[in-house]
């Protein structure tokens, strides 16, 4: 960050390479829309560039700071989206369709095609089920089970207590289980 603040153009490239994939993945999982996730990623990174001059080392980790900005930007978009939607069922339909239509590609193309397809189906089913969760629940589950952050880290990112995070994630897991476990057979988990 200090090198970035000193105007080193290579520092920006390195920071982007290091943090951008995580920001994009988090925003995609919370929003369920690739184009919107890209916009959020660009905005979060822009805020990081602007922050570089005032960055105090040791006060916050860049990754934690970025997760917080990303989560807040996603929450803003979800709120805006809800205002625009006239019916809840419409919103669920759109989000589920978004996950199905422009979902991410598997990272490791070296695995057998059948396994990749099965994993892509499971991932799509999970993302569709995630889209049905309440916003904060969805964010907490994403950060806990997909980004694999600790509860205290999530509490810091979401500016809440560890107990609240535990409650959000366990509620989210219950809701996901209720939606997904009926599809075990068709997704090769029977």
């Amino acid at each position: 960050m200090a090198r970035l603040a000193d105007g080193d153009p290579e520092a920006a490239r390195k920071l982007a390479a290091c943090h951008m994939p995580r920001v994009l993945a988090t925003s995609y999982r919370i929003l369920g829309d690739h184009a919107e996730a890209e916009d959020v990623t660009q905005e979060a990174m822009l805020r990081l560039w602007r922050q570089a001059g005032d960055w105090r080392p040791g006060v916050a980790k860049v990754s934690t700071w970025l997760y917080r900005v990303t989560t807040n930007l996603c929450m803003d978009r979800l709120r805006r989206r809800k205002r625009q939607m006239t019916a809840v069922s419409d919103s669920v339909g759109v989000e589920t369709a978004a996950f199905a239509s422009n979902g991410p590609e598997p990272v490791d193309p070296g695995r057998p095609v059948e396994q990749r397809l099965m994993e892509a189906d499971r991932a799509a089913a999970l993302h569709a089920a995630l889209a049905m969760l309440p916003d904060r629940c969805r964010a907490a589950v994403t950060l806990r089970h997909l980004e694999e952050l600790s509860n205290p880290e999530i509490a810091e990112i979401m500016e809440t207590s560890v107990e609240a995070v535990e409650s959000l994630t366990s509620r989210g897991r219950r809701m996901l289980a209720a939606r997904l476990l009926g599809k075990r057979d068709e997704l090769g988990l029977g």
Partner: protein, 133 residues
């Protein structure tokens, strides 16, 4: 017991969904990286410009002098009020306290004296008990 086993089973299945989702991360496309780096370059260029102007401040001349004076004083309205009070001070300084008494009697006609008393506006003589002239 059976309920516990069911819960373990469903937890395991859920974990397989999470694993599959973790394996399918979206990969940032080149054009997104280019947009992000372009933003960084713009911000850095702006920072460099402001640092240069801080390091080499332009001499304060002409309209820049007026502008910086205006900024220091806090705007034209405050600057105007300040100038008016300064002028009033100079006038009182030259004319002496008798001028104020004259002015008071001219501005507030005899009919208004009750109103002045009502407002409890003190006479200027109260501030100057001795004849200073």
């Amino acid at each position: 017991m059976a309920q516990g086993e069911n819960r373990d089973d469903s937890e395991q299945s859920l974990e397989l969904f999470f694993t599959a989702a973790r394996e399918t991360n979206p990969v940032p496309e080149r054009r997104l990286l280019e947009r992000v780096i372009a933003d960084a370059n713009r911000v850095q260029a702006r920072v460099r410009r402001s640092r240069r102007s801080e390091a080499n401040p332009k001499p304060v001349t002409g309209s820049r002098f007026v502008e910086s004076l205006r900024e220091t004083l806090g705007g034209w309205i405050i600057a105007g009020a300040l100038a008016a009070s300064a002028c009033a001070g100079i006038v009182v300084g030259f004319a002496g306290p008798g001028f104020i008494a004259d002015l008071q009697s001219k501005v507030f006609a005899a009919d208004d004296s009750e109103f002045i008393e009502f407002l409890a506006v003190p006479s200027i003589e109260e501030f100057f008990p001795e004849d200073v002239s």
